[in-house]
Symmetry: C2
Subunit: 180 residues, 2 copies
DNA sequence: GTCCATGCAAATGCTTTGCACGTAT
DNA sequence: ATACGTGCAAAGCATTTGCATGGAC
């Protein structure tokens, strides 16, 4: 069993620009300043961000981009596989750039909302296996573990979340017992 | 390795009513006709539904409930663990009642949008294990496999989805190569 | 010069809320 | 009688879109 906490090392800066340019050219789309700026800001840091986070990062960098253009550009970047979006069941979608990064899964801390990436080959295999066994042709999958991260486990909010979870498990087990 | 396609057998009809009533009483909330109706409709069939699906089912059954009350009731049912919500990355949330049902994962067909449940003990263990190994206290997890179901694999839309996926994999592998 | 892209504001679509009236306890 | 619940319509929010102007090619 091997886990693999992948550091966000971006090994060949600039490659994403080439890919983006090629994609745009290929479809008669234009490489504008707004698109260049957004690509730069997105690739200047590998983290998980919402559309709003990105908007703020742009403004802080002194770049003026409208939300409309921002959303339109996100769609293009997802289309050319430079970006993926995740739905962690919160209000807004999360994005992360993925060029040169293998698929990975996420852990979301219920206390601090922090996101940690992990990867398990075993998990990957099992999910495909499960799908195939049910006559399903797997295309992609998404696994998210919600819990409390090491940093939060001893804090107020962390304890609170864990306590609440313990109570929930107890009552749901009782329910399953009743049904059996 | 054992998978387990759980049939949606509701073994003890009525138990959910008792739980709901107890929950309401305990907090000084009232058991109204609207709440009774919604609970009935929801438990009359174990499927995955959106708020809108539920609204339609109510109307078809000749019951008048407003969307507002419907949403307010869904919140209560989630709170008392009779219902869970899933976010499959589409516009609206999906709900399913869960009393007496163990946790399970989902496969979503990208062609027909159909949802199949499955459960793998191995997968459950692995996810917890992965979390713990990273100092994370797991509370719950969510795994969704997206792909094409057996029924759709030979159809127009199914083939299309699979072909598109093949192309995507090819280009992303090329990207990872470049980075290495 | 031709399209495509941009910004703005208005529109969407799901979900939530304020309010005056109705009803379970 | 006293909350709490309900429906309606309006508000919220993230995201999308129509349109006139601006910019890449």
């Amino acid at each position: 069993m091997s886990f693999n906490y992948e550091k966000n090392v971006h090994t060949e800066p600039g490659a994403e620009v080439a890919i983006f340019e090629a994609y745009l050219r290929e479809r008669g789309l234009k490489l504008t300043q707004a698109r260049r700026d957004l690509l730069n800001v997105i690739f200047s840091d590998h983290g998980h961000f919402t559309a709003d986070d990105l908007y703020d990062r742009c403004r802080r960098a002194g770049l003026r981009v409208s939300k409309a253009t921002l959303y339109r550009t996100l769609i293009i970047l997802i289309d050319c596989k430079l970006l993926v979006d995740h739905d962690f069941g919160q209000d807004a979608k999360y994005f992360e750039h993925c060029y040169g990064h293998r698929h990975h899964d996420h852990m979301v801390c219920l206390a601090c909302r922090g996101i940690t990436e992990f990867r398990s080959e075993e998990l990957e295999r099992l999910q495909d296996h499960a799908a195939i066994e049910l006559g399903f042709a797997p295309v992609r999958h998404s696994t998210t573990v919600f819990g409390v991260c090491a940093g939060c486990a001893s804090g107020e909010r962390g304890r609170q979340v864990l306590e609440e979870a313990r109570r929930a498990v107890a009552s749901s087990e009782a329910a399953v017992e009743n049904q059996a």
